[in-house]
């Protein structure tokens, strides 16, 4: 007997060991339940992290734009009749008013990590007989590349942008039959045109985007789009990605700009994540319930099987509290041991699934995230579930009348 363990622990462990087959089966059941929870939670966290990483490294977390241009109807003054319908004016591409001042303000905000002014507009990329409409983005590479990791997505060439360079999407390159080093004639709607050299091909993970993406230096785009010294957007990254919407609202309230956060522009993604989290929570609850009922069933059978022994323990001076603790401990131990095996099973299944399941391009489907916190929480929850499940059997055992129990 271990001299460090109190009576209740010694008896609980012995009772579990004696009912070996029962114990093994219920630990197996708990382990499967815990394994499912660990596997699902870790995989979901991985998928979410992967998506967020992709979204946040291929687009700014907050984008400041010029506010919508609205038609201001005449006041309904004496003798003036206001039209019932006010037509929305066409949205001209115009520069953000006093953008250097706004940029400096943004850079001074502690929660903002990077700020980059950009200009974007439509243009035509022409090579020989082929021409394609492109979204021309004029950027300052040093600051912009810290927000959108263009260098990480370079499929060919290099992320170099001098005033005569252009980086284009891989699909656009295919359409134009262009490779790195080729010249492209870029023509704006105003008729201004410029011959630029392709320095890099970029794969941003979306076919539509890859068909239109064209990055040039900020000054090149400004002259092509006829907006010398102007910018159409200010891209921003923040420290806490989940605070992006709050920060965007604060910026919009304080400045004459429209601020869109990544949370707002990816609302569908968040709806999908919420739905998945809800279904995952439901699965966890039902798995937890079935584990709890399993533990309770095994312990109730144990109380019935051991009623004579409980009776004799009571006769020799064991208190109701001691009997209660003896059975609660068995529930807790079953939950805890089951959670250890379950965590190992879940982690094993996750590692296997991670190795087997690949994306079409051979890259991982989700990053393998095995956080210690998940295992700790699962072990604690399984132990608490075991304790709660053991409450009814433990109460039943503690309330046994020793005379009736001994008589059997």
């Amino acid at each position: 007997m271990n001299r460090w363990l109190p009576f209740e622990w010694i008896a609980a462990v012995r009772f579990l060991r004696e009912g070996r087959l029962q114990t093994l089966f219920i630990i197996g059941g708990i382990a499967i339940g815990v394994g499912v929870i660990v596997f699902m939670s870790a995989m979901l966290a991985g998928l979410e992290a992967n998506f967020i990483k992709r979204v946040l490294t291929s687009q700014p977390q907050i984008q400041l734009l010029t506010p919508d241009q609205v038609a201001r109807p005449l006041r309904n003054d004496h003798g003036v009749i206001e039209d019932a319908i006010v037509q929305r004016p066409s949205q001209r591409v115009i520069s953000i008013d006093q953008w250097p001042k706004i940029r400096n303000q943004m850079q001074a905000m502690p929660e903002i990590t990077a700020v980059s002014p950009t200009i974007s507009g439509s243009a035509l990329a022409i090579r020989g007989d082929a021409s394609r409409a492109v979204t021309l983005s004029g950027i300052e590479p040093e600051s912009y590349f810290t927000i959108v990791r263009v260098p990480d997505y370079i499929a060919a060439g290099e992320p170099r942008l001098t005033s005569d360079d252009i980086i284009i999407g891989i699909e656009l390159a295919k359409d134009l039959g262009a490779v790195v080093g080729d010249k492209l004639n870029v023509q704006a709607a105003s008729g201004a045109n410029r011959v630029l050299t392709v320095t890099g091909l970029v794969d941003l993970g979306n076919k539509g985007v890859n068909q239109r993406a064209a990055y040039v230096a900020l000054r090149t785009a400004q002259s092509l789009l006829g907006m010398v010294g102007g910018v159409t957007t200010i891209d921003i990254t923040v420290q806490d990605i989940y605070a992006a919407e709050d920060i965007a609202q604060r910026i919009q309230a304080a400045n004459l700009v429209k601020a869109d956060s990544w949370i707002k522009t990816n609302a569908q993604f968040f709806t999908a994540v919420r739905a998945q989290e809800t279904s995952n929570t439901l699965i966890r609850v039902f798995v937890g319930l079935s584990v709890a009922f399993g533990i309770a069933a095994v312990l109730i059978v144990s109380v019935i099987q051991r009623s004579k022994e409980i009776g004799i323990l009571r006769a020799m001076g064991t208190s109701r509290g001691q009997i209660m603790r003896l059975f609660l401990l068995q529930g807790g131990l079953l939950g805890f041991i089951g959670s250890l095996f379950g965590a190992a099973m879940g982690a094993g299944a996750l590692i296997y699934w991670h190795a087997v399941q690949r994306q079409a391009d051979g890259s991982e489907l989700f990053p393998l995230i095995l956080e210690r916190r998940l295992f700790l929480i699962t072990a604690v929850l399984a132990t608490v579930t075991g304790l709660l499940a053991a409450t009814a059997p433990a109460l039943r055992a503690a309330r046994l009348d020793p005379v009736v129990a001994i008589r059997g």
């Binding site: 009576f7 010694i10 012995r14 323990l313 020799m316 001076g317 001994i406």
Partner: protein
């Protein structure tokens, strides 16, 4: 004058009190057991012997009357105090030994001490070893009780009943399931402890030969104690 360990005055026990099916199984029981006395309790099946033993053993409460153990009136005690008094004053031996199968012989003997003290200790182990030696089972100390014979198991039960040095041991037909030789050994053991240590015994038995070798015989018939000197029913 001898000190009484156990005293029952006008003790009655009824079941289903206040209902049409009310049944009184013990009527006005007066009984005293002195320190060091070895008393046999006999009577036909259903006469109320086991009910009386349960009341004396503080496993059940009388419907009326007064039960005192070592001068302590048990009527005023709550469940916790009764459990404590039972654990420290009374040892039990049952017909079917009721050992705990998950433990070895020595651990079973240690059990009452372990329940009382909370943790195992060298003193508890030494006490259990000494008792097992006393009942002649020293070499079976580490055997699981489920692997022992009926006689050996009952001797372990005797050792367990003595673990807390109780003032009174209640033995409910302890030899009922044993062959003559084992029964004789177990009875001899109890008598030896009684004489050596002065532990009082209240022995329920159907074996009149064993009863005659006790200090006193009390016969219960239909829930009443027969007057002294009444002839023994065979």
């Amino acid at each position: 004058m001898a000190e009484d360990i156990l005293r029952l005055e006008k003790v009655c026990k009824a079941y289903n009190v206040g209902q049409p099916t009310e049944t009184e199984v013990l009527h006005d029981i007066d009984l005293e057991v002195d320190r060091g006395e070895f008393v046999a309790l006999i009577g036909p099946s259903g006469s109320g012997k086991s009910t009386l033993l349960n009341i004396v053993g503080l496993l059940d409460r009388p419907t009326s009357g007064r039960l005192t153990i070592k001068g302590q009136d048990t009527a005023v005690l709550g469940d916790t105090e009764l459990t404590h008094l039972r654990g420290h004053t009374i040892g039990f031996i049952f017909q079917s030994h009721l050992l705990i199968s998950a433990f070895t012989a020595k651990e079973n003997v240690m059990m009452p001490l372990l329940v009382d003290r909370g943790f195992p200790s060298p003193e508890i182990e030494a006490q259990a070893s000494r008792l097992l030696d006393q009942v002649g089972l020293a070499k079976f100390a580490n055997h699981l009780v489920s692997n022992m014979s009926g006689g050996q198991q009952q001797r372990v039960a005797v050792a367990r009943a003595l673990a807390m040095n109780p003032d009174l041991v209640l033995a409910d037909e302890p030899t009922g399931n044993l062959d003559t030789k084992s029964a004789e050994a177990v009875f001899g053991l109890m008598r030896e402890v009684n004489r050596a240590v002065g532990t009082s015994f209240l022995l329920v038995t159907h074996n009149l030969d064993l009863a005659r070798r006790c200090d006193r015989i009390i016969e219960v018939v239909d829930g009443r104690i027969q007057p002294d000197g009444a002839p023994l029913r065979s």
